[in-house]
């Protein structure tokens, strides 16, 4: 067994330090070490998107990132979306449009949606479908998800909402 490494990073706005082995993925570290089980494992090889997180604001599959790689970096998971103001507008939109059934892919899709809307406030349906192609959903058939992303974009366009969301 290799020796463990201390990793310090900013996760959902908080500075945290954790101890992990070099071969442990960021996904394992989030779920098993930090107890952030909102991020899901669906395939562990980058083909389902359930483990999507933001790494320095960039969408990545946390199963394809090593825990040790996030030293000094910032990570955002589904647990980091809601804040003192309550649910994030993207979360509100997904509930209102009923854009989920089993909900297992939902955390990854919410994070992927944030990554998209942070860069492109008003994406077309084609763009949304292309962007979310890496996030498999088996229940909904995607249509309500696309609708929810558009509705989230509209909410975020409201004055005040775009701030720090």
């Amino acid at each position: 067994m290799t020796s463990k490494t201390v990793v310090s990073a900013t996760i959902n706005g908080e500075r945290v330090e954790f101890l992990c082995e070099p071969h442990q993925s960021l996904l394992e570290c989030l779920r098993d070490i930090l107890g952030l089980t909102g991020t899901k494992e669906g395939c562990n090889d980058g083909n389902c998107g359930a483990c999507s997180v933001l790494l320095d604001g960039r969408l990545v599959n946390s199963c394809l990132v090593l825990g040790v790689e996030v030293e000094g970096r910032t990570v955002t998971t589904v647990e980091g979306l809601a804040d003192w103001r309550g649910l994030h507008p993207i979360q509100q939109a997904f509930i209102e449009e009923d854009a989920l059934q089993c909900g297992f892919c939902t955390p990854g899709i919410l994070i992927a949606t944030k990554a998209l809307l942070d860069r492109e406030p008003d994406p077309s349906e084609e763009r949304i479908r292309t962007w979310l192609a890496g996030n498999l959903c088996r229940c909904t058939g995607y249509e309500v998800i696309v609708r929810a992303v558009r509705s989230a974009a509209a909410r975020l366009a409201q004055p005040g909402e775009e701030v720090a969301r």
Binding site: V60, L66, E69, W131, G134
Partner: protein, 294 residues
Amino acid sequence: MKPFEYQAPTSITEAIALLADKGKKARPLAGGTDLLVQLRHGLFAPDLLIDIKKISEFSRITFDPAAGLTVGAAVTCAQLCEHPDARRLYPGLIDAASIIGGSAIQGRATLGGNLCNAAPSADSVPAMIVLNATCAIAGPEGSRTVPADAFCTAPGKTVLGRDELLVSIHFPPPTPNSGACYRRFTPRLEMDIAVAGAGVWVALSDDYGITDARIALSAVAPTPLFVEPAGAVLIGQAPTEAAFAEAAELARQAASPIEDVRGTEAQRRHLVGVLVKRALRGAVSRAKGGESHD
């Protein structure tokens, strides 16, 4: 997966030294989108992973109208696809770089990794080949360059020595009236792996005759395949469907596809013809000043 150590050097010499340490089996880590999966499947069992992302030469994109575009081996597809000069002047490269995995993979996968993984189906390699890219390699005895079409030697094998690193990939500045395009076929529209792919670069005279052309293929040979004669036959011809068909036929003949779960031999050979023609149409329209990256 066998446990391993992790190092993130900040200089090339440091990285080479770690790589050269005969005591340890080491592998460089860039985006990790192929490597980590291969480690989990036990394809390799290194003692050490060398993260090259903290080395500046590996992580930057530079463009100079006179010198061209240099893409560090650890630059992600997302970074490259967002680079304004790359989008404007190298749309053929963006065609390929923008379809390597979905949006989350794009945030990690690198051009260098796509090249060093040396998969026959690597989308970006035919684009590099037709754009006359050269690969800058660093090793204990200093550095050397290798043309992209000579980099991959077999499935998963490259010209890199065990203590050498791919530092960056260089693309010459685009010449006037030239254009490139990459087209692939996948059963799904995204998140899929090429059944076959074709990269094309053409240069046109002022009266739109083809003065030069290069064609390369993916997923139809043990390595990404440069088909020199398919490009050569176009030189001096007008960019007509008849000329495209001639080039496509030569490309079909050059292909030596395998049959596997992703495609049949006949399907792949057939697709080579279809995709070369489609890529030619795209490249010619770009050479005529058509759209940059679609």
